[in-house]
Symmetry: none
Subunit: 207 residues, 4 copies
DNA sequence: AATGAATGAGCCTTCATTCAT
DNA sequence: GATGAATGAAGGCTCATTCAT
């Protein structure tokens, strides 16, 4: 009422609030009331702007993907014509930084991983749409690194492994210590080691 | 109706039903009514035997872990005194088979991954308890493979990566095709390739 | 709480309250809350006993039909072997008394007429089931009165007209005065005149 | 969208749309949003032009009556100075054709019957205003046919019965088959038979 | 004269939990 | 040890209405 409040239109505020609340509580755990409250909007605003909770969810999801990609470009800032090793490093960096982001993007990634393992069935389409092209790029990169000798199956498995290495780092901060223990480990180190592991593995497999 | 049905006591039937229903729907999506119905028990049985939904959840969770480990022993059937390469293969096999299991164990693993990325906060203790010793074993194995030269940080990162490669395979069958495409890929191949990738990577990193 | 309240089980109280409230307000106008309040039951009782509002509606509807028929038997108390003129009188009496009933049965009949003209689509089955046999009986009776000469079509039209004469008397007490004006008219007179009109009409048509 | 569409002013389009929607769904079932959508008007148009839903309802109701009477004049096209038997036939024809109309007028009549049996309390005034003069005309006609001997009560009852015979034919097309069965029955036949039944009945009653 | 974003009251339904038996 | 009727809090959604433009 009297507060300055954000100047954004209600629809945008709802979208942002939805991202937060869905990411923190999952689809079922999130309540429309909470989202509206956080967006400083009326309880009926969701219905007015999005039709229902489910469609808000999908819209929030798409927005989260956009935000994530904008903040961490897929190629990690590495030019197209750089050597494949560097491009792999860039891609891994992009993925891991997204995954370990402690802000909005991190929320979204946790959400994405949860959706993949236990799909709510509500964003499968959007998910496939977005993820498929990324996978294709990764497959091509691995093929480039491995040469023509390697079987298609191995290329697929390695690509998938790379994704898994990165996306598996999705952890709530409070769980990090359970996994990484006392040794202080920063993102740069993880990125480097993961890249070296993968590059080394591919190299060795091609011998 | 009138049939004697499974001889198990109500409490056991509830536990089993809870595993199924929680695994399929998550904590929030699962309803006490559905669990009781599937266990052919009274609607009040959950509160009677477990106090409330949350405590049933924790109990079901522990049971699921036990079942998984019983079906797929942690060492993959490889003897303690086998060479470390084989022991790694065994461990990876155990993990991947659990993860890609299409029965009860697979359900549970999907659930576990979702819990790790978006913890409901209800099983964190149980999770830590169970997972910590496994991580230690893996760390020791990687150290054995890598030799004393490698930094502690790298050992931790590689161990984590191995877990991630395996647990990332948690996918609903309907999502498999999105990720593995047309190329037919069976579990044995995945296990072998993943093992070779990791072993090759470690070897290369130690040069 | 402290009041004596009716000893009937909750389900019965709900059914009775539902009849009243639905009859007064129609399906849409009736609220589950009002029904529960009037039945002195919890707001969730409808869901517990009937599943949802619609199924309660159907159950209430069937109950209302039963109550109506019990109070005003279809044959109006005229024996099977009485002359057809008397049997017609009995049937008309039964219909008109139901229709003009100022209690629960009247409610139900108003409801029935409204349902026939603007079906909610929820009781069409039950309606057809109940009404069909009654129509057949009436058709047979008219045929008996008219003889074999009359066409099937005329028999159907006359039967329908008899029903309409009676059911058209469904009026909220406050509307009666608009239709019957100042002249005092009691049910007996209406029943007699209507019967004589119909019998006379049939007789004349057969000449 | 961009087309000019019907040239009628918004208020008229609203009125027409309201007739349709109210007739199809009843007062409560109709929504302002649906009416505005069908009238291709703004959601706020109803409140702007009519104040609120209830006043729109009354206005629509009056309009529907006008439309009905314009399409089916009350006297059925029979001249004032025709013999009373023919005038009765004309009135019955007018009523039955209105009632069995499958267009807008039929909608309105269904609505009228539902209002009479279960008044929403919103159009009672308008209803009385319109219906009263018609009843008086019918009373006079029946008196003319029956002669001075018949009691006032019987005249009222017969008039009412005539109305009921006609208005009772208000049926959704899908219910027609339940009532008229397989025998093909057209409106002309119904009108003739109903008229003969009534005329015969009056004649017989006057003997 | 007309718009469309926004509101808030109210409805149906779900669901974990309780209580008397 | 077990039951099932009953409860109440809470959630998603609808919808007539309002308000600033």
């Amino acid at each position: 009422m009297s507060e300055p409040k954000s100047k954004q239109p209600t629809k945008q505020r709802l979208l942002q609030a939805a991202c937060e609340v869905f990411a923190e509580n999952g689809y079922r755990g999130a309540t429309v009331a909470e989202i509206c409250k956080r967006a400083e909007a009326n309880i009926a605003a969701v219905n007015y702007h999005f039709g229902d909770k489910e469609r808000l969810y999908i819209a929030a999801w798409r927005r989260a993907l956009d935000v994530a990609i904008e903040k961490y470009p897929l190629d990690g800032g590495v030019p197209h014509d750089a050597p494949p090793e560097e491009r792999l490093h860039g891609r891994i960096e992009s993925l891991i930084r997204k995954t370990m982001d402690e802000g909005e993007v991190g929320h979204m990634m946790r959400f994405l991983v949860a959706e993949i393992s236990m799909p709510s069935g509500k964003v499968l389409e959007a998910l496939t749409e977005t993820v498929q092209p990324l996978r294709r790029t990764m497959l091509e990169l691995v093929r480039e690194l491995a040469g023509e000798e390697m079987s298609d199956q191995d290329v697929v498995i390695i690509s998938t492994s790379i994704y898994n290495i990165c996306s598996g780092l999705v952890l709530r901060p409070e769980m990090r210590k359970n996994f990484f223990g006392k040794v202080g480990i920063d993102q740069d180190m993880i990125i480097d080691t993961a890249t070296r592991l993968v590059l080394g593995g591919i190299k060795e497999m091609c011998k």
